[in-house]
Amino acid sequence: FRTLLVLQVENVKLLDRYTNRKAANGTLYLTATHLIYVDASAEVRKETWILHHHIATVEKLPLTTAGYPLLIHCKNFHVAHFVIGQERDCHEVYTSLLKLSQPVKPEELYAFSYNPKMSKENREIGWKLIDLKVDYQRMGIPNDYWEITDVNKDYEVCNTYPPEIVVPRAANKAVVIGSSRFRSRGRIPVLSYLYKENNAAICRCSQPLSGFSARCLEDEQMLQAIREANPGSPFMYVVDTRPKLNAMANRAAGKGYENEDNYDNIRFKFIGIENIHVMRNSLQKLLEVCEMKSPSMSDFLTGLENSGWLRHIKAVMDAGVFLAKAVKDEKASVLVHCSDGWDRTAQVCSVASILLDPFYRTFKGFMVLIEKEWIAMGHKFAHRCGHLDGDPKEVSPVFTQFVECVWQLMQQFPCTFEFNERFLLEIHDHVYSCQFGNFLGTCHKEREDVKIFEKTHSLWPFLLQKKQELRNPLYRGFTAYKELQPNTLPFSFQFWCGMYNRFDKGMHPKQCVLDHLLSCVSQKMKLEDNASELENKLPCLDGPSEACSLSKVGSAASKTPMLNTPQDYEAEPPPGLSNGASAGDLDVVSDVDQKHTEISCHRDLHDLNDTVDVLDSEAKDGKPQHH
């Protein structure tokens, strides 16, 4: 990476919660896209890579005896605490990182310069990997009641919806257009998921512009059409995922919620998930808890409670469960909305789909789900994830919460997802990395305008390539489980250490079961291949003895006991007792997470063409930093 270097600084220490001043001296490199810290002091060279786009904040901390500290908080919850020997170096790194981590224009995003070795055809094929029409077909659409319409092909109905949406056949163009005038941002009720078994549907939209008393015939007809598309149920649910008070307050602004008196045969319900500001603050508090140095159990649990984070996760999950139950048990269709129908609505529809349909628990299905409910249907990724320098009040961990709901389900149902936790973490990383075009902007139209399909790559082929590491070795197959009925009592929700303390390796189990099981699975497949190969070659031989020895080698290697060192078990260490935390744990088996990021970044970096242009084009004015 030397050729693309922006800055190189020696005498830098990387501290973590276990090492103190005994940390070794290393070198810090800044490239156009990454910060790379190299510690070559021990036998094993250790590299720490941080993508500039992942950096949320950079702070200079007060001077210490060890040097000039720089604290970097990342959007994927990596916290890097550097101590730089020279003040001038520290300041240079600080100002460079401020510039590099906060692009102003969309063209500055990594996706537009990321250029792996891939043919133009393959890149285009990558974008065609996910076709939502195929998923609708899987649901049986088009059918007697539902059709895929192109009424929005020029975004006349709704400029944040995709060109093709699914509406009831009974809803003609006039109804669609009329309804769009009565819904916030024109986000009319459209189909999210159809439960084939009983024709109940999950639909989504935004809040009606009802104010205190406004009505709209077409909107009422639209809901009627949705209800009648499910003849098996006399009523349908309309679910407002906001707290009642917030929804009522919206009425004063000419918006609000559906009046049961005006819409025939609807049952209206508030679910009460808090808004983006509450969630942003909740996460902030949670991260503060995660960063506490040596907290007591009480400190931790109290902090966790005060953040409210798990309470919010439960609220999203409860909503998903309600939808799934309504559809499966009550056979009733559900129309979901929040305010603009692209935050809580997306979360809740996605969770419900996963609960109902095992397809969305496969690799392909999960990608389809995200493409459908988040990407196609519009979600302000750019704002929520702070891709560009913008309003900090728009930032909120909406997608993060959805990913966590999936993880919580994985804990309760370990055999039902085709993929593992790492898959979720990779997707989450890339929602923020802007390395791929899928999550740029806010909606399909915007992505078309910025030409992501011509100029950037899709994330999905990249992930599918790594399928072997991202799969769940305990997956029991597509047909093993149908609907999931999770336990939603509070004790069922665990703190996700792998996400929020992901980079605090000492906190995680010291031995990785996932790796071992994955190697068992691949061993098994290799052995089966070998065995059949051998059988074909030498039909007279008695039994696959070679295969047996192969398996022993494999398992021994993956189960090599990991050297680990004791942490500081003292509140106050008694004099004379060494605290055992030696400078740098011997990472004999280096953790896979770090390696993943490293390997993928290495490849990307080597394949980057000249990205110096990106830096030249940036704003030269010293914009005051605030994230």
Binding site: T302, G308, L310, K510, Q511, K524, S555, N564, P566
Partner: protein, 324 residues
């Protein structure tokens, strides 16, 4: 590693030459040892008023005393009861749940027990020093520490057979009063003075180790649950009475069957083995960060939520491990 009960120093700072000599023989000339007292410094000092006390530095110059207060007795039983109540509350909100989990302090006790055991292990493994552990009677928190320290230090204690041997040695023969401590468990209205879940706390700590080192214990969670069950109510005589003397008087060995004999039958034994086990010759140092310590759902939620999906996962793990 040694264990004992508290020295009977008393308010007049009595000395006992024989006791000093006994501890003296453990250490070489110039060597240092550590005394881990499972009472707070203040509690240990107050114990003198009732005839107990601590080892004065002047009489035991080679020994350095460390205080690591561990909960025992009624407060520990209350902690257990409160946790079980919280788990059983079906109408509880998330905030209330976390609040009760915190206020019952069970996980704090787990953290403290693991930390103290690690301290003892550190003294031996890192400082290469001998350790004496005692609390008041030497029958509760003392045994918790010594037994746990051995699981941490000694790979043979992590085998199925070795673990049983450890239990026999450090809990049963050492005189943990099972009959008194494991009388009624968490649901009983009779709040017995002598009841306290030290043994459960030990099992919980071992479970935490198995979670952090999934390959390093030869036995599974199933064994730990079986031990918990049998400590409170058993068809076998293994956990009966309070000490060896009582067992002799009650003729336990003549009149009852041994749990170990049952467990170790080839057909039974399979159930208690960890399919992921791979001998680990090293010391296993657990993390005692709050994020690393979890509620033992397999025990505390055992009858509250179905384990079907987790059982299926274990069956898969077994299948994969066996096919390897």
């Amino acid at each position: 590693m040694l264990r004992s009960s508290q020295p009977l120093t008393g308010p007049n700072r009595k000395r006992c030459r024989e006791d000093e000599m006994l501890l003296g023989t453990v250490l070489e000339e110039g060597e240092r040892g550590f005394i881990i007292d499972t009472r707070s410094a203040q509690a240990a000092k107050q114990a003198r008023m009732t005839g107990g006390g601590t080892e004065p530095k002047s009489s035991y110059p080679q020994w350095r005393r460390l205080h690591r207060p561990l909960e025992r007795g009624r407060p520990l039983q209350e902690s257990f009861i409160k946790l079980v109540e919280a788990c059983n509350d079906a109408s509880i909100s998330m905030d209330r749940w976390l609040s009760r989990l915190e206020s019952c302090r069970w996980l704090s006790h787990v953290k403290a027990a693991l930390s103290t055991a690690c301290l003892a292990a550190q003294c031996m493994d890192r400082e290469e020093a001998s350790v004496l552990v005692h609390g008041v009677e030497g029958t509760d928190t003392t045994l918790l520490v010594t037994a746990l320290a051995q699981v941490i230090l000694d790979p043979s204690c992590r085998t199925l057979v070795g673990f049983q041997g450890l239990l026999e040695r450090e809990w049963i023969e050492a005189g943990h009063p099972f009959h008194l401590r494991c009388a009624r468990s968490a649901y009983s209205h009779a709040r017995l003075k002598q009841e306290a879940p030290l043994f459960l706390l030990f099992l919980d700590c071992v479970w935490q180790l198995s979670r952090q080192f999934p390959f390093s214990l030869e036995f599974s969670e199933c064994l730990l649950l079986t031990l918990f069950d049998n400590a409170y109510a058993s068809a076998y005589g293994t956990f009966l009475c309070n000490n060896e003397k009582e067992r002799c008087l009650c003729k336990v060995k003549e009149s009852t069957h041994s749990l170990w004999a049952w467990l170790n039958q080839p057909a039974e034994r399979k159930k208690y083995l960890n399919p992921l086990y791979s001998h680990n010759a090293l010391v296993v140092w657990p993390s005692v960060e709050p994020q690393s310590i979890q509620l033992w759902q397999g025990l505390f939620l055992r009858w509250i939520r179905p384990s079907q999906y987790l059982d299926e996962a274990w069956a898969e793990i077994q299948r994969l491990a066996e096919s390897n």
